[in-house]
Symmetry: C2
């Protein structure tokens, strides 16, 4: 007997027929003698509709009431799946975040789980009942509803798995696993049999939409055994494992690109640490998210400062930098037509050749690199948006990912 958390995303529960299909997947694990807890998202499209309603009233601002509105979708799915399971003879009950409870901080719209009380889950299992947990939702200590941000149900599932020491957390989604690149861009993209937590974290953070970044972080912290699987196809997915358990060593495990950021350059900022600190303090106070930052070494009095930020935050950036008159610069240049390409691999820190192969490949294509940013297991470069997809395909070949290496 194993303890298994199953999570089903929005397209997996998009209508009643799919919910019934999901109920069979749950039944199969129950019939095999496992203790199963299920986490569900809202039916596909529902959250978008609710977000649309809320935004038409208050724009993008997140508030307690925003969360009350957008958390409703998961409640519906959890009740419906419990009904579908009862219908096929599997006792089940819904559990909403406030009922468990799943306690979070008060960061409405993207709250962080702080504590999960597993008592009711244990009670369900004792009585042979499958708990169906509404994903995405949380509760503050003050008794208000919160939500965990886009893809938050992944994090609910992994956190539940950690709280009950589950043997496995199976994330059922509309793709068959984690790929070396987006198959829509790179036709030869390969499904990975396994990937490390760190690599998966970078892939998620750099734009692979298969898992919420925070869910990978939670899995890494609690060493939760996560599998990414398809709801619609019976085939092995991708396992997320600690590095030491990797069975295949692949130098590079994936190449992502995202085009949702803009590059902003401040020309001729004072070449002092204080001036740079002022810029980013100003932006932080304006709640602007910054991704890449680059400043070249310069011996002059002034220097250029470049950073990237989500396109939607450009107006806030401009307002903040113009209002704050202690920041002096000559010009503010905004380029929204950029894309960030990232190569992720746990071997990166050991093999310097991986980075140079990236630069060499892009140089051979005459693609200028605008910004470069590295971490232990990834290299990101900012390039012109028009060159991005071609660059991803070329890098996919250069790193030898085109050949079929999965069994």
């Amino acid at each position: 007997m194993a303890r298994i958390v199953q999570k089903f995303g929005g397209t997996s529960v998009a209508d009643i027929a799919r919910l019934e299909h999901v109920s069979l997947k749950v039944k199969r694990e129950v019939d095999a003698g496992h203790q199963v807890a299920v986490v569900v998202s809202a039916m596909a499209g529902v959250t978008n509709q609710l977000v649309g309603y809320a935004q038409s009233l208050v724009g993008a601002a997140k508030s307690p009431e925003y969360d009350v509105v957008v958390a409703a979708g998961e409640q519906v799915t959890s009740g419906l799946l419990a009904l579908a399971l009862s219908q096929i003879g599997v006792p089940a009950r819904s559990l909403l975040a406030w009922q468990l409870p799943i306690l979070t901080n008060v960061d409405h719209g993207c709250a962080r789980i702080e504590e999960i009380d597993p008592q009711q889950l244990e009670e369900c299992w004792l009585r042979g009942v499958v708990p169906i947990i509404a994903g995405f939702q949380g509760l503050t200590k003050q008794g208000r509803l919160t939500t965990l941000g886009r893809g938050g149900s992944d994090t609910t599932a992994v956190a539940i798995a950690a709280a009950v020491n589950a043997d496995r957390c199976d994330i059922y989604t509309d793709v068959t696993g984690v790929y070396t690149a987006d198959p829509r861009i790179v036709p030869k993209a390969q499904k990975l049999k396994e990937i490390t937590y760190e690599e998966m974290f970078e892939l998620a953070a750099q734009g692979a939409k298969v898992l919420q970044t925070r869910s990978v972080e939670t899995a890494m912290n609690h060493q939760v055994h996560v599998r990414v699987l398809s709801s619609f196809h019976e085939e092995p997915g991708t396992e997320i494992v600690p590095e030491k358990r990797l069975t295949d060593f692949i130098h590079v495990s994936g190449i992502t690109h995202r085009g949702d950021e803009a590059r902003i350059t401040l020309k001729n900022v004072q070449n002092e640490t204080q001036a740079v600190a002022d810029v980013f303090e100003t932006l932080a106070n304006a709640d602007v998210h910054i991704d890449m930052i680059v400043q070249n070494v310069s011996l002059d009095d002034c220097t250029d400062l470049t950073f990237t930020t989500p396109k939607g935050e450009i107006p806030r950036v401009v307002r903040a930098l113009q209002e704050k008159n202690k920041i002096s610069y000559d010009d503010l240049i905004i380029d929204p037509n950029v894309a960030k390409i990232t190569v992720v691999g746990v071997e990166l820190q050991r093999r310097l050749g991986i980075a140079s192969l990236m630069f060499k490949t892009l140089a051979g294509m005459n693609i200028p690199l605008q910004v470069i940013s590295c971490s232990a297991i990834k290299i990101s470069v900012l390039v012109d948006e028009s060159a991005a997809e071609e660059a991803v395909r070329a890098l996919h070949s250069a790193y030898g990912l085109d050949k079929e290496f999965m069994i």
Copy 2:
């Protein structure tokens, strides 16, 4: 300063524009210095959609999970109205049934409110915040969600008004008040300026859809001052008042008809009380709702027993009566083409002529009366469905309701 509960139904909150319109109605009362609590229904159509989902899985059976599914709509509206109010500078917060809490019995799908804790409402008012309560929802002592049945938000509103000793409970709806008959059937139907609790109770129970029956019962028990008003038109509605406060005495206050029931006759049941008791015990055990019952005095060994039941329950009735072999009868006759016409008036108990006017009018139209049923303030007759609308119009004239008696 008065304490006011405002309730807005599904068509009043059907989209964002209407929610913004509603927020102005709330603001007006707040600006006048009143302590306001608001109760909202789900956006029009939402509950039907959720009920449809649940029924496609489990049919009409009510269960805890059914309630989890269908209660979600009110959560969305309460959050959205709180956002809309904040937008126009009125501090507001949503309160879901489990947050107050609104405790009910465990009768899922049509739970009865047992207790409301007004503490959080008082706290909101102390802080100058308008509480926006999700209607229709309840919570059992075991921590499960319930719902109060169709139109349950009316009952939430009246029960909240009772719990906080409100000066007034304003029910905003898509009609401008309570009418002497359905204006779609009787073009000369008049809006009532006021009506007693008892009359309103009968009208609601006999098919007037303007208020949930249980809400009128709750209002009567706690002497809540209820007004029925239009969300869309600025005109006086109908006030529900204790009999002693009536300013106008009208002999008959309304004529309703409903065609959703069927007449069932058991031919030649044994003429003993035990036999009749067996029939209705069997039906009660099968959870069948019975409305009218009639059995003629008979000196024979056998007699005919007639009752009415909602059309949807016919299969259950037939199954129950056939399975139970201790009940003997010769034939089971089902007539779904019947309609019940009811005349309601607080004066009925004092003026016997009111009943005979009804019979005389229908006799003059050659409409046979199938079943007659009376209470202190109403007379109902069962007639052929095809004659119902014409009969309602004729009775409306006969009782002098066609003339404009409202100011």
